[in-house]
């Protein structure tokens, strides 16, 4: 879905950041805005990519051109990209986590290797575009209905077999299980957490992520964290 603001210049968003997104007209239910990653920008339109899972996303699906929405952002920190100058970016994404790493891969201008997993073929989006902007795309599905049968992390592990992990820098976004497994691959890098959020601006402490230094806020101290920083239980 794309949105634009006729009167103001759209803010510049960086890979890793997100927006808090709300619909108008529906009074107080849904109550809170929902977080969606910065996906890409096309002309004067900012785009997000979303999956319909509940209240807000169902309403979003029913929106029509011209409907008003409420957007706050861009929020949160950015995937650091300096290391990718001398190392190869190895990107692991699960489900709609692809929205988060999409603009990152674009930035890498064809140097990123992408492992992209979903439960089945149906969940794999944008295959053509992704192939076009990445050096190599490996699709993995749990049921084997497309590409590698298994998780994206399994596919990445296979790929790394015999290679030196230090030649790569990791970028990963997806469900917690994937982030945990990806962190265990032995590659340094960055993972983006998707804890549930209420405010998105750091005041509610709802989006706590357990780290070595205690709870941090996914929205303000993240969503991007260094590998090894987060404690998964």
């Amino acid at each position: 879905m794309g949105f634009s603001a006729p009167d103001i210049a759209l803010p510049k968003a960086e890979p890793g950041q997100f927006f808090m997104f709300g619909v108008k007209n529906c009074e107080k239910d849904p109550l809170l805005k929902r977080p969606f990653c910065y996906f890409r920008r096309r002309g004067n339109t900012l785009e997000i990519l979303y999956r319909v899972v509940g209240k807000m996303t169902s309403i979003m699906k029913g929106l029509r051109p011209g409907d008003e929405v409420e957007v706050l952002g861009p929020l949160g920190n950015v995937y650091p990209m300096a290391q990718a100058v001398c190392k190869t970016p190895l990107v692991i994404a699960g489900g709609v986590g692809i929205a988060s790493v999409y603009p990152l891969i674009e930035r890498f201008k064809g140097s990123a290797i992408l492992f992209y997993g979903g439960r089945s073929k149906k969940e794999i989006l944008l295959r053509k575009e992704l192939r076009a902007i990445s050096k190599k795309l490996v699709v993995a599905t749990d049921d084997g209905s497309m590409g590698f049968k298994g998780t994206a992390v399994d596919a990445a592990r296979d790929f790394l077999n015999g290679r030196n992990p230090d030649d790569f820098v990791l970028y990963s976004c997806g469900p917690n299980g994937m982030l945990k497994a990806a962190s265990a691959l032995g590659i340094q890098g960055y993972i983006a957490s998707e804890e549930k959020m209420a405010c998105g601006i750091g005041v509610c402490l709802g989006c706590a992520v357990k780290t070595k230094e205690g709870y941090k806020r996914a929205c303000k101290d993240g969503p991007v964290f260094k590998t090894g920083e987060i404690i998964f239980d």
């Binding site: 709300g22 107080k28 239910d29 849904p30 109550l31 809170l32 805005k33 209240k55 409420e70 706050l72 804890e195 549930k196 959020m197 209420a198 405010c199 601006i201 750091g202 005041v203 509610c204 402490l205 709802g206 989006c207 706590a208 992520v209 357990k210 205690g214 709870y215 303000k220």
Partner: protein, 311 residues
């Protein structure tokens, strides 16, 4: 028109005991951190007061996630009073928020009267403008809720803190589960509180019927937001009938009209919590909304709205 603005400002003024507020609107504790994040969105000195996240003597790490879930017109949280503790607060947080020309009210919580009084003393020394006793957090066993539900220990806690606190105004935040909101209000007044505030969140629970798991890791959390507003307005009405000290009303305020509703019911000031999560500018919009309502209704002083419900 700066003159007009100035004038408007005076019109919105209210008093909590000795403390003058530019307008009746403050942040609700725990929904504005220690001020830094909201300062990125607006000038904090536009607020009536800023009430900070609850602090304890030592740092508390808070509850496991998920800590929040949305419900119909409301949300449940079980942050668990995660906070940096008194020392870090005095060192890192308080100096920052004191840069603005806005009264700073600290919200405190402890597991014993001694902890409350030590916190209160240290904060008075540090120069805060007000201290809000949180005796009502449902999210940690230690959150003072025992004080909030038992009239006798409640009264003795207020007495003990009052004895230590001279300069800052002392606000007592009641538990919505208090058996007899009137009695607790009168007890707080009787022990010398300058104001009472209510309501805190209401213990609540939600279960995901797909996973069959509680949507809050701690199972029970506190319900806030528009869903609880009618309960809060009722309690503010009852409390303000029971005492002469000012009542600070909160619970589901999202607009200036919501704030006016609490004031008509008897509140002298109001606090905005969950609405800040919906929109970082919400507190400021509530200030403006009260002004707009007053203009529409030809009302000259915000303080005259308090208790002005017609029947």
């Amino acid at each position: 028109m700066p003159a007009r603005e100035n004038n408007n400002n005076k019109r919105l003024e209210v008093k909590l005991g000795r403390l003058k507020l530019k307008n009746p609107v403050m942040t609700a504790s725990g929904t504005a951190g220690y001020g830094a994040e909201l300062a990125e969105f607006f000038d904090l000195s536009k607020l009536g007061a800023i009430v900070l996240k609850g602090i304890s003597l030592t740092p508390w790490q808070g509850n496991p996630t998920p800590r929040i879930t949305e419900t119909r017109c409301g949300m449940i949280n079980s942050i668990g009073l995660q906070n940096v503790g008194l020392d870090a607060f005095l060192r890192e947080k308080l100096p920052f928020v004191r840069q603005w020309d806005v009264p700073v009210i600290a919200n405190i919580l402890g597991t014993s009267a001694a902890e409350y009084t030590r916190l209160a003393s240290a904060l008075e020394e540090a120069g805060v403008d007000g201290i809000e006793l949180n005796v009502s957090c449902p999210n940690v066993k230690e959150g003072g809720i025992a004080f909030g539900l038992d009239l006798k220990s409640f009264a003795s806690l207020v007495r003990a803190v009052r004895a230590r606190v001279k300069k800052p105004v002392l606000i007592v935040k009641l538990s919505p589960g208090a058996p007899g909101i009137e009695e607790f209000s009168r007890a707080a007044e009787g022990e010398g509180a300058d104001a009472i505030s209510l309501i805190n969140t209401i213990p609540a629970m939600a279960i995901d019927v797909n996973t069959r798991r509680p949507l809050i890791k701690n199972r029970i959390g506190g319900l806030s937001g528009p869903a609880i507003k009618p309960i809060a307005v009722r309690m503010v009405y009852q409390a303000s009938k029971a005492v002469k000290i000012p009542v600070i009303g909160m619970g589901g305020i999202t607009t200036g009209e919501d704030a006016v509703e609490f004031m008509l019911a008897g509140a002298t000031a109001v606090a905005v919590g969950t609405a800040t999560f919906m929109d970082p500018m919400a507190v400021l919009k509530v200030v403006q909304g009260i002004g707009a309502w007053m203009e529409r209704h030809g009302i000259k002083k915000a303080s005259s709205i308090t208790g002005a419900m017609l029947t």
